[in-house]
């Protein structure tokens, strides 16, 4: 295994726009909203940025291709600007670019921005679109809820769980996130809900109902990264560093080989294992203080908690119902409301997850502040359970 990224790169500034139905903003306006906060937080100006990475997934629905839209929005001074995309894991992908550039010495100070403007499509939900010319010929006619619902029917059958119990656990995932989102002024959805509301909601893709699915939101988030020595020159004392940064992409195993039973993510397990090695974590359930996982759907969060080693296989539903992942529980999950409530502007989500972990580590999370968190983990997933890409990041204070 290579040496790894642990403690080589510091996040010196972050910003995040308000997420929601931002009828008032183009994608470029959202970028500026997040970037302004980020630059102010870092205490750097745009002329100090050596290279930038832009994450956005369905650019044809808003600002168009290449890294140029970021350079245009911020008037970046003819520096390298790279547009990246890895489905819903694009945000963390931009972060990877910036972090590795700094670690490699190719940049002193690098910028990562993620943005998505989903509310000009005219859809409730993600737009129906081509998946690729050959893929369109044979892929099942699946929406995202449908593809992730597969996890639920397979999980329920494998673990012999009553569907009513599984649905209650899935409901608690969303109830908990809504509770957290109600304390987040930047979140798209801030209403509290109860289990009964979730269970009575209309079905979207059996067995996922309305409240098992995150909605679509507009938003942007940004991070500025640099080396520890430059961070100190900028006057920072509490340094939040990257402890691990891993990515895993499916290779056809899940979709074409009869060894995968449809109840977990191969990529989750692979990326998490490597991330723990990279960060020197032996017992994630004991050592991870808080995490943001990709709760595009409640079942995704449930299964991911097992894949990340925080719950035993087949037991996440029990931990969830016991409140283990609630804000007041042992390992709070989605303390900022998650994709479910903060929102899921696709390209921004990976960076938004890091934004909350960053604020928590610096004691700046206001009403949501957890007592003395040490290590925060983000999990960002793009694609479908049977074919996807997953990134896992772990951040913490430099001394820890």
């Amino acid at each position: 295994m290579p040496r790894g990224i642990k403690d080589q790169v510091v996040i010196v500034g972050m910003g995040c726009s308000r997420f929601g139905e931002r009828w008032d903003c183009n994608a470029e306006d959202l970028i500026v909203e997040a970037a302004q906060e980020c630059f102010a937080d870092a205490g750097v100006g745009r002329e100090q940025i050596d290279a930038a990475w832009l994450a956005t997934a369905i650019e044809e629905q808003h600002m168009g291709k290449s890294g140029i839209p970021l350079a245009l929005a911020l008037r970046l001074p003819f520096i390298p600007v790279t547009r990246v995309e890895n489905y819903c894991a694009s945000g963390t992908e931009a972060f990877r670019g910036a972090v590795y550039a700094v670690a490699a010495g190719a940049a002193d100070i690098a910028l990562a921005v993620g943005v998505e403007k989903l509310k000009d499509t005219g859809y409730g939900g993600l737009p129906q679109r081509s998946r690729g010319t050959l893929n369109d010929m044979y892929w099942a006619n699946a929406s995202a809820p449908g593809a992730f619902a597969q996890l639920a029917t397979a999980y329920q059958a494998k673990h012999g769980l009553e569907m009513t119990i599984l649905k209650q656990a899935m409901a608690q995932v969303s109830v908990k996130s809504h509770e957290n989102g109600s304390r987040n002024p930047k979140a798209h959805l801030r209403n509290r809900i109860d289990t009964d509301t979730v269970l009575k909601a209309p079905m979207i893709a059996e067995p996922l109902g309305l409240y098992d699915c995150c909605g679509v939101s507009d938003g942007a988030a940004a991070a500025i990264v640099t080396r520890p020595d430059i961070a100190r020159e900028l006057g920072k004392q509490d340094l939040v560093t990257v402890k691990a940064l891993q990515l895993s992409a499916s290779n056809g195993f899940e979709a074409s080989f009869n060894n995968w039973d449809g109840t977990y993510f191969v990529t989750n397990r692979t990326a998490a294992k490597r991330a723990y090695l990279e960060a020197g974590i032996r017992d994630p359930r004991a050592e991870i203080s808080m995490l943001e996982v990709h709760d595009c759907f409640s079942i995704t969060e449930l299964v991911t908690l097992e894949d990340l080693g925080l719950s035993q296989e087949g037991r996440a539903w029990r931990d969830i119902l016991d409140g283990f992942y609630n804000a007041e529980g042992t390992v709070p999950c989605q303390i900022d409301g998650g994709l479910k409530c903060f929102g899921h502007p696709i390209g921004a989500s990976g960076l938004r997850m890091l934004y909350e972990m960053y604020l928590q580590l610096l004691g700046r999370a206001a009403e949501r502040q957890l007592p003395n968190p040490r290590l925060g983990m983000t999990h960002n997933l793009g694609g479908f359970p049977h074919q996807n890409v997953v990134s896992v990041a772990i951040v913490g204070r430099l001394e820890s």
């Binding site: 859809y123 129906q128 081509s130 050959l134 369109d136 044979y138 006619n141 397979a154 290779n251």
Partner: protein
Amino acid sequence: MVGIISFGGYVPRLRLERKAIVEANGWFNPALRAYAKGERSMANWDEDSLTMAVAAARDCPGVAELSSVFLASTTLPFADRQNAALMAGALNLDESLATLDVTGSQRCATSGLIQALCALAGGAGKTLFVAAEQRRTKAASPMELLVGDGAAALLLGGENLVAEFVGGHQIAVDFVDHYRGTQEAFDYSWEERWIRDEGYLRIVPRAIKALFERVEVPPSQISHFLLPCQFPKLAQQIAKMFGISEEAVADNLDGRVGDTGAAHSLLLLTHVLEQARPREYILVVGFGQGCDALLFRTTERLDGFSPRTGVSGYLERKRLESNYNRFLAFRGLVERDKGIRAEADIRTPLSTLYRNRRMATALVGGRCRQCGTPQLPKGHVCVNPQCGAVESQDEYCFADRGAHVQSWTADRLTYSPDPPTYFGMVVFEEGGRLMADFTDMDASSIRVGMPVNMSFRIKHFDELRRLPKYFWKAISQIGSESAGRKNQ
């Protein structure tokens, strides 16, 4: 001696209740109430004459190593793109093949069949003859109640026959009981009484008389008399003219299937062959601007032979449709607001389709020579993580392989002409898997572990470019659903 080696049939699973049609249209034409009982077969939104033809051909055992393939229908999806060649592709047949579309009248199947049999007698090799029909009818027409959708397949040859072709006679008469121009969607028909009296009753007997003069078989020896027509008792009337017994008149499947147009003579033939005994004479008639009369004699080999499911099996496998509006929607007979998701333009480049036709049309993937793993799609690198061999795969067809469902959902968000879309992970018992659309399923029977087979269907219809795109979907294994429900 040439004749039928084997046979198969197909009737779509959906059966539109005729009383639902009458309830919807009876206010306008009370005469329709005469047909309110029973059902008519209704192709699903993802079926057409081509998909039904493929289904019938797959029901027919022994379809391999053919010289010729014929496809007869007046409702083929393409007027100029050979449908028989497309069907041959779906059946994974060798490309060294003579293929022909036969069309133009309601007797095109019987006419084509006679020509195919003549070619065989002249030395042609084993031949697959398929007929299929999905007639388009106007709302509130009597035809809407009387027609049905379906297909039949015959494997023809010179040896190992279950039925020998004794002889045939054809007459050509431009009797225009109805017509449909090339650019038109619907038929135009004349008065029924005239069609019966001047058409059937005058023209059909001429063909039968000439046939009997040629073959020297006493009409009283006919065990099965097949005459598709909409007039009750007409077949009996004509039978009586010749001394064919009334018991010989075959059930024309009115009230269970309906008249499947150009396919009907052959559909009735395959249905009768399922029940016939050896050494019986079968007289088959086709009518449409003339008349074809064909005489077959079953052989000892018929005993113990059966198609994979057969018309009888497909008849039992039915789902009643009581919503006439769904029928109108599937046939595009009403201007509907399909919603924003239906606007998505999913274009298939014809070059991509051609290059990948083995997978798209025949469901052919790969099988690694090194580790034996079947995989879909076929790739350059074996998907087995313990293997990973490069350029090691031979073609491997998944179409006829049994499978079971590992996971599933009912997706109400994605666009579908018939929501919700059922789909899930289909795991083939001998290896390989596919996240596949489901079709024709009884929703209450869908469960993890259910056995499924693959069926050739319309995957998507490109409205902008007027192109049906085909692929394979999972259907419940025939006979398995009632078993599933019992187990629950």
